[in-house]
């Protein structure tokens, strides 16, 4: 990916998707919550590496994992790897109706997904990558505060909103 900002923008888009659509539907879609959480963490890491790593990028999972297992980033690996492992499980664990085997939802129960992976590992990856990024961008944050609309703002007429 071409730039630091491109990774940051994807973090923000994925976070918006998680908060707005997926987390409220975690009971129905725990696999998608974990998968998007992992890719959010991946772009946090890639944004950090763009600022902090000589090669700027890692091009595939194994290269990224090698870098994260090194001494400088291993504290991030502790929270990144569980997200990677769970998203891989969510994508590849087969579910066969009528068989006495686990499904992803029975393994990672939906009511544990948010505390374990969103408020837990993903939040820590965010915190740890932001700490590294702030060495060169002191005020940086991945997540912008939600835009607030003053109560006195006039409503936009439908015709104006449509651009006519």
């Amino acid at each position: 990916m071409a730039s630091f900002n491109a990774h940051v923008e994807l973090v923000r888009q994925n976070t918006s998707l998680l908060d707005g659509m997926l987390i409220p539907a975690v009971q129905q879609h725990p696999d998608w919550v974990v998968t998007v959480a992992f890719y959010t963490a991946l772009h946090m890491v890639e944004a950090m590496l763009f600022d902090d790593f000589p090669d700027k990028h890692t091009s595939h999972h194994s290269e990224r994992h090698n870098v994260l297992q090194g001494a400088r980033y291993s504290h991030i690996w502790y929270d990144y790897r569980p997200l990677y492992a769970q998203s891989r499980l969510a994508r590849y664990l087969q579910t066969a109706a009528g068989k006495d085997i686990a499904s992803f939802a029975s393994y990672s129960r939906p009511n544990t997904i948010v505390p374990n992976f969103i408020d837990g590992h993903l939040a820590k990856v965010r915190q740890e990558t932001e700490q590294v990024i702030r060495q060169s961008r002191p005020t940086f944050t991945f997540i912008l505060p939600a835009a607030t609309v003053p109560p006195s703002s006039p409503a936009i007429p439908p015709s104006a909103a449509a651009g006519s």
Partner: protein, 150 residues
């Protein structure tokens, strides 16, 4: 290739006519080759020695890794049903199947520590460990993660 001081009675192949034919005999076998082919054969022999040394080192490290992972499983027999180790192009994949069917944070943390241990230990310099825990599942599920035919 190791550099040695040349003696005057040494034949310097690189100085021969490239079209010259060399006849090499050993144990009744006769091989005819050009000087360039002879030089290539010498270099190849050196590279083969290096490859053999690297293969031996890899095998030694794999034996150590297998022992380490076996011990890891033994220490968690109450939770781990079975384990697989598969060599891939870019890593060694350690896959475990749990006895239970629920996510186990302690096992996940321990697996992460295993990857750090291997990555930071010079004794495993040729290896990179990837790890994955699966809940209690059948062979078809395991096959989604590793190729059991290998």
């Amino acid at each position: 290739m190791a550099k040695m001081p040349l003696k005057t009675n040494v034949i310097r192949l690189g100085h021969l006519d490239p079209k010259a034919q060399l006849l090499v005999e050993r144990d009744g076998d006769r091989v005819v080759m050009t000087p360039d082919e002879a030089i290539d054969a010498c270099l190849s022999r050196d590279q083969s020695k290096d490859l053999i040394a690297r293969r031996d080192l890899f095998e030694r490290q794999m034996r150590m890794l297998t022992a380490k992972l076996g011990q890891w499983i033994d220490e968690r027999r109450a939770k781990v049903f079975e384990g697989y180790l598969q060599t891939r192009l870019d890593c060694q994949m350690f896959l475990i199947v749990l006895k239970g069917d629920e996510y186990d944070p302690a096992i996940e943390k321990s697996l992460t520590e295993l990857t750090i241990d291997v990555a930071s230990d010079p004794a495993f310099s040729m290896l990179r460990l990837d790890v994955q825990a699966l809940p209690k599942c059948d062979t078809d599920d395991v096959k989604s993660f590793i190729d059991l035919d290998d």
